[in-house]
Each structure stands twice: as C-alpha cells, then as structure tokens.
C-alpha cells in the first residue's frame, strides 16, 4: 500500500486559540486574517505533516451566502496553505449544512452543483488533492465525490463521522460507508471527527474490513467534554499518537487529527509513522451491496431479491407510476421487506411515462421507507443513470447482456456509480439453448466488465429461466449453466424463477422445486415474490442445508411456533353492525362484516349505505368532542379496509370513484402529518387520492393536475416560511389553466391567509376537507 501519509490536525480549535469567535464563518479568515491562517498551516508543516488541509471546509456558496465568493475564499485558502510550505495541499470539503432529500429538501443536483463550484475553484487554485470530510450523509458524500471525479483528475479522500454508537447522524455504519465509497472510486476512505482515537478504533477496524482502497483516520483529541458548559478535549499528544499508531499497525496508511488536535499531536504522530512500515493488508474481494442503512454480503449466503415493484401485469403499480402517487409501491416495498426480501428490484418501465424521471423519484422515495439495497431495473440507460445517481449506496443494475450495444451502454454506468451489474446470458443471437454457450456469453460479460474496471465480484450472471412447458429440456440447461458459471467463472448468479412454470397449474409448486434445484447448483440471488410462503420456505430450508443458517438458529426461531393456519379471532358473538365496528376501530372484524354485507347488497350500496354513514358517524363524534383524533383515525382506517375488500372483489367499473383529489405538501415543507390525515379521511368517502408527498415542486403539481384532470387540489404547509411556496403553486396552477378548485390547510393558515394566497377553500381540519370535497364533487 505504499507509504504513510500524514495529514495536519485541527484547524478550528487552532483558530479559536488565536481569537476566532464561535459561530462565525472561519473560511472568511482566508480573506480577512490571512496571517493567522497561514501561521496555523505553518505550525503543521513544521510538525511534519505531508498534507496541509486548506481552510475551505465550509466554503460553499450556501454557507458563505453574501459574505464572500467561493472562488475568492477557496483560492485564498489554497494559496495560504501553499505559502505556508505545504508539501501537498488538500482542498477541504465539509457538509453543506442542509440535508438532501428524502430526509431534507436539498436535491441531489443542487448539492452536486454546490460541490462542483468548490471543486472547480480548488482545482484552479492548484490543490493537489481533495478531502471530503465530516460527512454524515452517504448521499451527500457521494455527491461531493462525483463532483471531484467528474470535473477533475484530483485524488479524493472521503471520511465520514460516527457517533459513539457506530453510526453517523443519518444512521450509516462504517462498513456501509467503506464499501460504498470504495466502489464509487474514492482514493481513500475512513473516519474523522466526533470521537477520540480510542473510540474510533473498533470502527476503523470495520472500515479496514470492507474498504478496497487505502484507509484514513483523523480522530478528535478525545470526546468533547461539555460538562462545564464549554467544550474541552482531553487526549494528550502522547496518548493520541500511541492510539493512532495502533491503527497504523492495523492497516491504516493515512492519518491526521481533527478537533482539539494540535501541532504537537501531529509531531508525535510523525514519529510513530517514521518508526514503522505500513502494515500488510488483505483487500477483501467480496460481492457487497449496500443501502445507506444496510450491507448485504454474498459471501457464503444467498439473498432474495423481491420482484414485485414492476408494472408488468400489475394494474395498481401501473396506475401508481402513471400518477406519480407512489403509496401503493412504497407499501409493496415494506411488505416484501417484512416477508424476508434482502434486496428489492425496482422497475418503472412503462412506455407512456418519463422513465428516467419516474425511476429517479421512485428510488428516492423508496429509500425513505425501506433500508433494503435496491436493484435498479431498466432497459433504458438514461433511466439507470438517473436512478443510480441519486441512490444512496451501492446498487445492482439490472441488466446488461452480451450484445455489444448493451455492454458499451451499461457497463460505464455501473463503473461510474460503483454498482454491481446483472449480466444476462443472451446476445445478438438470442438465448443459446446449451449451457456451454450461455457460459461463453457470461465469460464475455465478465471480461468486458473487467475492461471497464468493474471487478469480477461485481458481475452477477443471470443464466435465464425459460418456460418448461414449452421446452422441457431447457430447464436442465439453465441449471447447468448456473453451475458452470458459478464454478468456472467464480461469479455470483441471479435467476428469476417464476418464468419456469408459465402455462402450468399450481405454478408455485414448480417454482419452489426449481428454486431449490438452482440453489443446489450454486444460485446466489433468486428474484422472486417474497410474499409467497412456499418460496420463502424453500429459501429458509436451503439456508439450513447450505450451512448459511448456522445451527439452524434462524430456521428454528421462525418455524418452531409456526401457527398452522391464521384464524382471525372472530367469534359469532361479535357485533356485525358495520357502524359499531367502525366506531370501535376494530380492524380485525371489518373485512368479514363487509363480505357478509356484499352477499346481500351491491358494492356501491355497501359503500354508500354502510361505510360512508359509519365514517360520518365517527366524524360527528369527533365534532362533538366525543372522539379525539386517534379514535377518528382508527375508524377511518377501519373503513378503508372495508373499501379495500370491496375494490379487490369488484368487477371493473362496478365501483366508481367519486373523483380524483390531488394532495401535496408544498415545496420546502416536509411536514406531512396533516396531509396524511386528510388523505386517510378522504379516501374513505370514495375519492381517489393522488398523494404526491412532501416538498413537492409546483411544476409537478401542475403537471399532474393537468394530466389527471384533477378537480380538487389540496395543499398543505405548516411553516409561515413555506406559505409562499403555497401561493406560488396556486399561481402556477391558475396560470396553467388547471380547471381545479384548491383547498389549503396547515397550522399557520387562517381563512384570511387562505384567501390571500388565492385558495378557493380553507380546510380547518380533515373533517372540513371532506365537506369541501362533497361541495366540489356535488355529493353528500
């Protein structure tokens, strides 16, 4: 791994010693107090640091605001480090200070743009490398890293900062950070800030285990002690150097200090480095996939890819993709996770939609509700690029194949985003019948991937399942191909299993048998419907047989008390009166009660004569103060289950929607509880709700309202500061000529305020929104 590299120590603390006040922008000192900054740098040069970190940590235009231009502050920062005699100068990039979507409101492109500006200024000023540091958000670190890689040839080191519980503020652990950032092309990855060297050590061990590039550490001089109401760091230079020295012996090759460290800490660390050689380190070569929350390693284990997020043959998913109201899909994701999926395939391929934009937004939304790594599935390279770009982690791309056109379009995307890629064993001549010929295509894909710099462990071969009922001999060929590829190429395999049984009855029986057979041949990642009990049984059993489930612990835990049949705890004595069931919010009873009612009445009658009066009764109780909010909502959810029973059982056209209502929390605002309550209630009056979520840009609301011929739009804003966005959205709707009425709600709004922003209605609460909807759609 070459030589050690010594970084400098704390800048902030040294500046504070020289009179810098807390809370101000320290980067402005590059312009206002250059002598102080240079003096700090020089003290680190004299202490023996190889790399001096320029004082540019927060020099992005968002943080600087009007106080200084990025160009000037960065140029001065780099210059001061060089003037101080730095052997190498690092452009320092810290977090923007605003959070990216989906947790925050900053878009990936905005973040990238901010970083790009800093990177270009740094490169022009002559920085030798870039250090991206103190990151809490893996996606933000990725945006910064891509900004370096796509705009310069400078090396980029990336460190994230972890709390004592071993996670960043956003919940990413060191293993995920190391694996993901290595794959993305960081030149070194590691940990800085927050903790002292002692506390950092176990986490750096994790980084060393998963990083495929050199590892960097820059701890604080201990945990900050704030018990006196001031911040003090206690670790002495001697203790610091000794602790970091231990990490050098573990395999770390780049080190320095963060908050509270001084030139003396660095001087003693120099001594530690000079006294030893970099430790031998074995670089792991494993197939690893990540989300920001989870790492899936396919070393000796199998992983289930949930297949359900795919519009092919699924009416509800098609509708969700077309409308942009993703609730149904997000629920499918959670259900598959709960059923035991390890990854989720995500496909948004519908001819009539903007697939890149839809897939990108869907991937962002999914990451807010599930920690599972995603397999991004599209035949459109542009859609794959758009979705991989905003994915926080190391995804799988599904897929490339042996055709030249596919290889040259898809492999560069996989390389750029550090993704693993599924390779289908087909080429210009179609799918070969014989296993040997499929193997040859696999071999070609692995080789071509290697030429693009994609390591073998990141290529997953799909030997392709063909329908056994049309050509019975081919099932064996597929299984043999799995074995050949596994043994011969040493790569992992993927296989969609359900195709095998097409045209046969009891398809699950065939599929489960085929799945077990494929496992025996070496299959690593089946793509299947995890909601099928039979498949998940086969997976659980294989994990026992293969030894992955050590001592059968997981199997025993899941199966020892398995109830034979789920019997709902209903007894004939329970009330069957739908109003009573709804008012008491007893969800377990409603489905049977509705089914019973459907035997005597038509679906619309059940809705209009039973369900809606029941929810009205709950609403009345709420109005009178006999119910408080959770009671009203529990009633509403009970009614919703009743609705689902009716819709699922109804023939097409039998249950008519009373009209479509579009709901959104406006741009800049991410409070969505109020909106969600309204959604819950309105969906129980037979309206079809399109929920675009929170922080929704006006353009998307206008576009959806026009396309879907929406007659009522409900907008929510909770902050005084975001009511402006509400006014902008209403203006945009009017200007576009959308023929809709608009109701607004949210804590800051009053009837006067609602009129001022141009709304047609003010909804004081969710009940009121139901009355407004009735007025607009002319129904009770």
């Amino acid at each position: 791994m070459g030589e050690f590299t010594l970084f400098d120590g704390g800048m902030g603390t040294e500046l504070q010693k020289r009179g810098l006040v807390a809370g101000a922008l320290p980067e402005l000192l590059n312009l206002n107090e250059p002598d102080i900054v240079r003096a700090v740098h020089r003290s680190y040069v004299e202490a023996g640091a190889d790399v001096i970190t320029a004082n540019t940590f927060g020099a992005n235009s968002k943080k600087l605001g009007d106080a200084g231009t990025v160009e000037k502050v960065v140029a001065a920062g780099i210059r001061l480090a060089r003037e101080a005699g730095a052997k190498r100068t690092a452009l320092d990039i810290g977090p923007i200070g605003a959070l990216l979507a989906p947790m925050g409101t900053l878009s990936f492109d905005e973040a990238y743009g901010l970083f790009r500006e800093v990177v270009l200024a740094g490169a022009r000023a002559g920085a030798d490398l870039v250090i991206i540091e103190t990151m809490s958000d893996l996606l933000e670190a990725k945006a910064a890293l891509l900004a370096v890689k796509e705009n310069t040839d400078l090396p980029a080191y990336v460190t994230m900062t972890f709390m004592a519980d071993g996670r960043t503020f956003l919940g990413t652990g060191p293993a995920v950070a190391a694996a993901t950032l290595s794959a993305l092309g960081a030149d070194a990855v590691g940990i800085n800030c927050s903790l002292g060297p002692e506390e950092t050590e176990p986490f750096i061990a994790e980084v060393l285990r998963w990083a495929t590039v050199p590892v960097i550490v820059q701890p604080n001089a201990g945990l900050p002690d704030a018990t006196s109401g001031e911040t003090i760091y206690h670790v002495t230079p001697e203790a610091f150097a000794k602790s970091v020295g231990r990490m050098l012996d573990m395999g770390v090759t780049v080190a320095g200090g963060c908050c509270g460290t001084t030139p003396e800490h660095i001087r003693l660390l120099r001594r530690e480095m000079d006294a030893r050689r970099p430790a031998e380190r074995e670089i792991p070569r494993r197939t690893v996939l990540t989300s920001s929350q989870r790492l899936v390693c396919l070393d000796g284990s199998v992983a289930v890819i949930g297949e359900r997020i795919n519009p092919t043959g699924k009416k509800k998913i098609k509708a969700a993709l077309r409308s942009g109201s993703f609730d149904y899909i997000l629920n499918e994701a959670i259900s598959q996770e709960e059923a035991g999926a390890d990854l989720l395939d995500v496909n948004a391929g519908l001819p009539e939609i903007d697939e890149p934009a839809t897939l990108r937004r869907l991937v962002t939304s999914l990451q807010a509700v599930t920690p599972l790594p995603l397999q991004i599935d599209s035949s459109d390279p542009e859609a794959l690029d758009a979705a991989c770009r905003v994915y926080s982690g190391k995804p799988v791309i599904n897929s490339v194949n042996g055709k030249e056109e596919s290889l040259s379009a898809i492999l560069p995307i996989a390389k750029k985003y550090g993704a693993a890629v599924v390779g289908l064993t087909l080429d210009e001549n179609g799918i070969p019948d014989r296993a040997e010929d499929r193997y040859k295509i696999a071999e070609k894909i692995v080789q071509r991937a290697g030429e693009y710099g994609i390591p073998r462990e990141d290529v997953l071969i799909d030997c392709l399942t063909l329908t056994v009922s049309t050509n019975q001999a081919l099932a064996r060929e597929t299984l043999e191909a799995v074995e050949l590829v596994t043994r011969g190429l040493g790569v992992k395999t993927v296989l969609g299993v359900s195709n095998i049984s097409f045209g046969l009855p009891a398809r699950e029986v065939i599929n489960a048998a085929f799945l077990s057979a494929a496992f025996a041949k070496g299959l690593t990642m089946p793509i299947l419907n995890p909601m099928s009990r039979r498949y998940m049984d086969a997976v659980a059993a294989w994990r026992v047989l293969s030894g992955e489930d050590v001592s059968s612990e997981r199997f025993i835990a899941s199966y020892v008390n398995l109830p034979e049949n789920k019997v709902p705890s209903t007894s004939p004595a329970e009330p069957v009166d739908i109003t009573q069931i709804v008012l008491s919010g007893r969800k377990l009873l409603i489905e049977d009660a509705v089914r019973a009612a459907l035997r005597e009445r038509g679906p619309m009658e059940v809705i209009n004569e039973l369900l809606i009066p029941a929810i009205n009764a709950a609403g009345d109780k709420f109005e009178r103060g006999e119910f408080f909010l959770p009671q009203l909502m529990a009633s509403a959810e009970t009614v919703k289950l009743g609705f689902d029973v009716i819709r699922d059982g109804a023939k097409s056209g039998e249950v008519t929607s009373k009209g479509k209502i579009l709901l959104a929390t406006v741009k800049g605002d991410i409070h969505d509880i109020g909106k969600n309550i309204v959604k819950m209630l309105l969906s129980n009056y037979g309206y079809e709700i399109l929920d675009l979520g929170r922080d929704v840009p006006p353009e998307l609301i206008v576009e959806t309202a026009m396309r879907e011929h929406i007659r009522l739009v409900g907008l929510s804003a909770l902050m005084t500061t975001t009511v402006k966005a509400m006014a902008d959205t209403i203006k945009a709707l009017r200007e576009a000529g959308a023929e809709c009425r608009i109701m607004v709600g949210g804590a800051v709004l009053t009837p006067e305020y609602a009129a001022l922003v141009g709304a047609d209605f003010y909804a004081r609460d969710a009940q009121e929104s139901a009355r407004i909807a009735a007025e607009v759609f002319g129904q009770p």
Binding site: G23, A226, I334, A368, R586, N676
Partner: protein
C-alpha cells in the same frame, strides 16, 4: 445515548393527541403504549449546550465572544437582568424521522400517535438538558428562566442559524436547517435560557406554551401540538 434512558409520559402523549377525557378503548391504549415503546427504541436523543456571558452594551443581548446579537423585544425582555445565557439544542435524531416515514405508509393513526410520542420525548430530553443548566446555575448561585426559542414572540426564526451555530449543533447533534428555517431532524429543539442573580424576579414558566408570548396565534397549538410538533 439510547432512547431507553428516557421514558415517555403517556399523559403527555394523550395531551398532544388532543385527548380531553374521552373513553379510551383498551385497543387504543395498547396501541399508544406499543408505539411509545417503538419511539423510544428508534430515538437517539442527544443534547448540548454552552453558557455565554451576556453583553448588553449595545442595548440588545449579545452572546459575548460570538458576534451574535439576539434580536427582538421579547428575547430582550426575557433576558433582562440575566448575567449569563445558556444556548441549548436537543434532538431525537433521524431514526425517528425514518421510522415515521415508514409508519405513515402503513397507518396514519400510528403515524399521529408516533408523532405525539416523539413530541413528549423531545420535551423530556430538553428538560434533562435544562436540568443540567439549572444545576450549573445553582452552583454559581444563579437561577434560570424558561426556554425561549427562535420563533417565539418577535425573536425571529431567522436567527436559528446563529443559535445553532454558536453551540455547533450541526457537528455535535446533526441538526441542520432547511431554507425555510425548519430544523432537521424535525424533532429538535433550540432554546435560550437566562441565568439570573437570585431574587431577580425571574418568571419560571411551567410548560412554555402557558408563558409564550406567541400563544394566541401559535402555529402549532391550533393543531393541538406543542411547538415541537
């Protein structure tokens, strides 16, 4: 610091949910318990504070050594007579945000209860932080006032970056701000507490709503939540 070091007061959760003595079914009561437990499980409560001398020389309270002057008549009134000001921030972390986004897909009822449980918990975390400040004040022979936050009265929300900045709440707690001055994680609190000489006639508010100057047109009270809701 895991959430398990704290407990969630069910009475408070019910209060935030707008409960006014309605009959509580065992199902709903159980659901509130279950969701409160989930809230404690996913929360990563943290707080930090720092105490600054107050410089009143410009006529407005300034946090000495920081370059930050607090704007508005109400914060000035609040800190009148104080020697020191403690700036504090507390948060439940992003895990609860994540848990709530997931829950919102499953059940809006659960989401609403989870939100109320979080509000009760962030109050408890803030109380613990405040308790440390009170103790430090006591050691110095001082007494404290209640928590005063940007957005109360005419203390502008736009000073949120200053307040969080002087205690480095971004690095220490992971609190960030949106362009609309919304703290993320949403379940976060920032506040200023005055430290006064004994006998300065400090008003000790109970719940801060009762003494809040802004209570008549409070954005949050209308929904039945505290201002952290």
């Amino acid at each position: 610091m895991p959430g398990s070091e704290y407990s969630i007061d069910k009475g408070e959760v019910l209060r935030y949910l707008g409960h006014r003595g309605q009959a509580l079914t065992p199902e709903l009561s159980g659901l509130i318990d279950e969701i409160s437990a989930r809230c404690l499980e996913s929360a990563r409560p943290r707080y930090c504070f720092q105490i600054f001398p107050l410089d009143m020389s410009s006529g407005a309270p300034a946090l000495a050594g920081t370059g930050v002057t607090l704007r508005g008549e109400d914060i000035k009134k609040h800190l009148a007579g104080a020697e020191l000001a403690a700036v504090m921030a507390a948060t439940l972390g992003f895990e609860v945000e994540r848990a709530m986004m997931r829950l919102s897909q499953r059940s809006a009822t659960a989401e609403v209860i989870f939100n109320a449980a979080c509000t009760a918990l962030i109050e408890a975390v803030s109380d613990r932080c405040e308790g440390e400040i009170v103790e430090l004040a006591r050691q110095r022979g001082l007494v404290t006032s209640y928590r005063y936050s940007p957005g109360y009265g005419d203390f502008p929300l736009e000073q949120q970056p200053d307040v969080l900045g002087v205690i480095d709440a971004g690095t220490r707690l992971g609190i960030t701000l949106t362009d609309s001055m919304l703290m993320l994680p949403k379940k976060s609190v920032s506040a200023i507490i005055g430290l006064y000489p004994e006998g300065a006639g400090v008003r000790r508010g109970g719940s801060s709503c009762e003494t809040c100057e802004n209570r008549e047109n409070c954005e949050f009270r209308k929904e039945g939540f505290g201002c952290n809701g």
